[in-house]
Symmetry: C2
Subunit: 337 residues, 2 copies
């Protein structure tokens, strides 16, 4: 079966036909069957020229920070501006639990039923790399279908923030107004990825939120991520990560949030960084998949499967040098040099 | 030529013979010639049973923190206790500059001429992974030659701290008493690796050093790396990273530093973590070399070399999906699935 009727439905279908084509396309892309994969590659290549016009927004934060509430408020705000919004998710824990707490439609009850919104939960099989790849591909489907903003949400688990930052134009970190919350983000290397830091639940304790904002701005400055405001006029063409407070629950600050996002998008487009970021992301993605494929082939090799248990034990017990073991396994697999 | 006479010189030679055997063995291990590599593997396997009795101490810090001065003071202190000390280095920048600023004997003028000390600069060719592998292997040579303490120093560049932390029993982070120095270390993920944080140059400004110490301890607590002192008695068998001040230049605090190291070693040996850390390190090292070997073989494959430039460009320009490109390159190389 050719995947081209699917493409036609994605690009030109009526609302109902298009929605059905999106679901079918994403299911095809998520399939692990070899014949499906060939069709999926054909579809991806065909839809690629129709992608790239959406703004790709990554949103991350620990459980309880209020991501779903915020994304629902933001999504409805954007729809009010005449935009179409897709919400995807990268949840590495879904591969363990089998279900996804992210992109859960029941947690975005108004957005999920709106005809201008498309919500898809995290793929729930494979490694983080595999889950991220499926989400990247689903993003391309949404873009071909003409969605204006694609939001990719993730939870603060493992390396998922790096994955989402690596597939989006802008990466937003949501924080709670708690002491030390910023240190955790710095430690995990997530603060460094953030183009914008949002302190949510500012309505609960305005003083705590303001203290957290000052603390995070000071950390960003010490880390060299935030420009000195006195010298800001020296590099107006460059974006410096901002920190803003809002209350997703009360819908307060969503307009200002979108103002910051729009300003970021304008700057990054004008100075060429949006384009170079996307080029680098695509190349990094290619190499990530190559690495994963090489490792998978290595582990699946009969000689490796035969030797690995003993070698692993000998290396751990100091009976075989690790580099010697690596060379012998590579040689046995005939894959490496 | 067999490598076994070398082993005999390492294990049983007179001081002069042993020193010459060490230099020869390390040169053999650093060689890239295929026939040398076979001898090197033979030598490594033969000396492995004679390793593991030394304490492996990693020391890291940014340029200017005073690493050489501190290692000279520490080395002479340890020799005064009747111990033999080896100093190795991992300097990824040496592969660019061609020369190494680390392990530079002229910067440790008393230690470098002492018969109980052995100093070897960083290997200066290849990737960080390659440099780290050579240093790991040189460490085994020093251990077989009966050195009691092997110090591996590195500079705060790129991922070199992770490499050194991954080959040592204890990882020490040297800091200057500067505001924000700890945030940089947290950002880079180095604070998380530290078993002990040393604030050097405490003699210059005692107040600044004390402020830095309090700041770092507070950060460690917020990161969950440092136990709450009130509950310390609940887990006496576990080590919590400590923060100490010293002045390497004046030789002040070196004895207290070694007291902390000895306490760490005692605890980690008693609770089994020293052993499990070494086992995990050896296995991680094996996989790191396998990954590097797979990637090297992939890049060297004629079909990959033929296709890669065009594919890389097509992926960057959005003409070819990254995952499709990866699959086609893997298939062309016949290495991956």
């Amino acid at each position: 079966m050719s995947s081209l009727p699917l493409l036609d439905g994605l690009l030109h279908g009526s609302a109902t036909v298009q929605r059905r084509a999106m679901a079918k396309a994403i299911t095809l892309l998520e399939s692990t069957r070899a014949d499906h994969r060939a069709q999926a590659d054909e579809l991806l290549t065909a839809l690629l020229p129709h992608t790239g016009r959406a703004f790709r927004l990554g949103i991350s934060g620990v459980p309880g920070v209020g991501k779903s509430t915020f994304i629902e408020a933001l999504g409805l705000f954007l729809i009010g501006q005449g935009l179409r919004v897709a919400v995807l998710a990268v949840d590495p824990s879904s591969t363990v639990s089998g279900g996804s707490i992210l992109g859960d439609k029941t947690r975005m009850e108004h957005l999920s039923v709106h005809p201008s919104a498309y919500i898809r939960p995290s793929p729930s099989s494979g490694t983080l790399g595999g889950v991220a790849e499926k989400t990247r591909e689903a993003m391309l489907v949404c873009e071909a279908a003409g969605y204006d903003v694609v939001i990719v949400e993730t939870v603060g688990v493992g390396q998922s923030e790096t994955s989402v930052s690596g597939m989006t134009d802008m990466f937003v970190l949501m924080q709670l107004p708690n002491a030390g919350d910023d240190l955790q983000a710095i430690k995990k290397g997530v603060m460094e990825l953030a183009d914008l830091v949002v302190i949510n639940k500012a309505d609960i304790d305005v003083n705590a939120a303001t203290r957290a904002q000052a603390q995070i701005m000071s950390s960003l400055r010490l880390l060299g991520l935030h420009g000195n405001p006195e010298h800001a006029h020296h590099d107006e063409a460059l974006w410096h990560p901002q920190v803003i407070q809002l209350s997703a629950l009360l819908g307060q600050g969503v307009d200002r949030f979108w103002g910051s996002v729009s300003e970021f998008r304008r700057l990054q487009t004008a100075n060429g960084r949006l384009n170079s970021r996307r080029q680098n992301q695509a190349q990094a993605w290619m190499w990530e998949r190559i690495d994963a494929g090489l490792k998978q082939a290595f582990r699946a090799h009969p000689q490796v499967q035969h030797l690995l248990p003993q070698f692993t034990q000998d290396v751990a017990l100091g009976r075989l040098p690790a580099s010697t073991a690596a060379r012998q396994l590579l040689s046995a697999s005939r894959l490496g040099s």
